[in-house]
Subunit: 199 residues, 2 copies
């Protein structure tokens, strides 16, 4: 930020009265420009194949945009003004995967503090198989747990969410008290883009 | 937003290529200025009085700033870049109430879409009684459930969080399977500032 979005004059870093950290403050009109973390919201679209003993598959998108062009992700994107978190999850799933879902519960809330983001993923039930890549996806595909491209996932929050999802599946199958999916909050402290393992 | 924060020229509303909603776009340098919801994060600081049979009290702050000057709130504020959601809850509790807490689990996630905010409150255990109002508080006080100033709470998300907290307390006391606090996600659709009842 170099200029004031209200009056067009220059901004300078200064600690406003009553504040305790530097902000971009307009040298002309005094407007304080706060910068705050953003939310990235997505879904875990699940298809339980009725013709294959209910075998579970998850819908992933291969990214057509940077960062991480060509890598696989759950459908997700920046939350917009005027919508709720679950509305954002439904919209992003529609936009990126052309997929129609019944949205479920919040499943993960993952802090990615070093990039000023909070990622949230909702459980979701895919309503039909009528999906197709949107503008930001190269392809969209259903994967069983065994087939998920674990080494080609776009972001640590995608891996974490999928790992937690399949771990909860095991617990749900094994539990005798009809335990449901949890809500999982974690902090991602590694870099967003993990270096690839050497061949 | 009237001016580009990158080059200082004017901005105009336009739908960028590949996008589907109007954004502020610089007419000179083409920078797209996205506007996204903000997170307001706080805590429910709980004191269980060891000298009074563990009677539970919650710490509230009376606001010294607008909006809702003079009304009672849980300590909360805008999340800052570079911190996690629970770090934000600890910091706001320290800043607004001068209170030291052990942070617990996420308890509420409340969408307030019409003001482009998501509010989150964490369970917290007050570590000592050495609290004092910060710059944004007129006073800070412990309240039992019966004493909470229900008609003078600052925001619907504060009321909702406190209602859910005390409802979960009842369930926890009555449950025989050591049920814990839940994670509650709701959308607040009424106006943020409720009109006062006529005298």
């Amino acid at each position: 930020m170099k200029f004031c979005s209200e009056c067009g004059h220059g901004v300078a870093l200064a600690i406003p009265d009553g504040d305790n950290r530097p902000r971009h403050v307009c040298i002309q009109c005094g407007t304080i420009h706060y910068q705050n973390p953003k939310m990235v919201i997505g879904s875990i679209p699940v298809w339980e194949d009725p013709e294959n003993d209910g075998a579970l598959q998850v819908l992933l998108c291969r990214r057509a945009i940077e960062p991480r062009h060509g890598y696989w992700t759950l459908p997700a994107g920046f939350m917009e003004n005027g919508e709720t978190t679950s509305e954002a999850a439904v919209r992003e799933t529609e936009e990126e995967a052309g997929a129609h879902i019944e949205i479920g519960k919040l499943f993960t809330l993952l802090n990615v503090a070093h990039v000023h983001q909070v990622h949230m993923f909702y459980l979701a039930r895919l309503l039909d198989l009528d999906f197709a890549p949107g503008e930001e996806s190269l392809e969209v595909q259903l994967f069983t747990e065994q087939d998920i491209p674990w080494d080609d996932l776009a972001f640590p929050t995608i891996r974490k969410t999928l790992e937690l999802f399949f771990a909860d599946r095991v617990k749900i199958r094994e539990s005798h008290d009809k335990q449901g999916y949890g809500v999982h909050c974690h902090d991602i402290v590694r870099p967003m883009i993990a270096p690839r393992e050497p061949d």
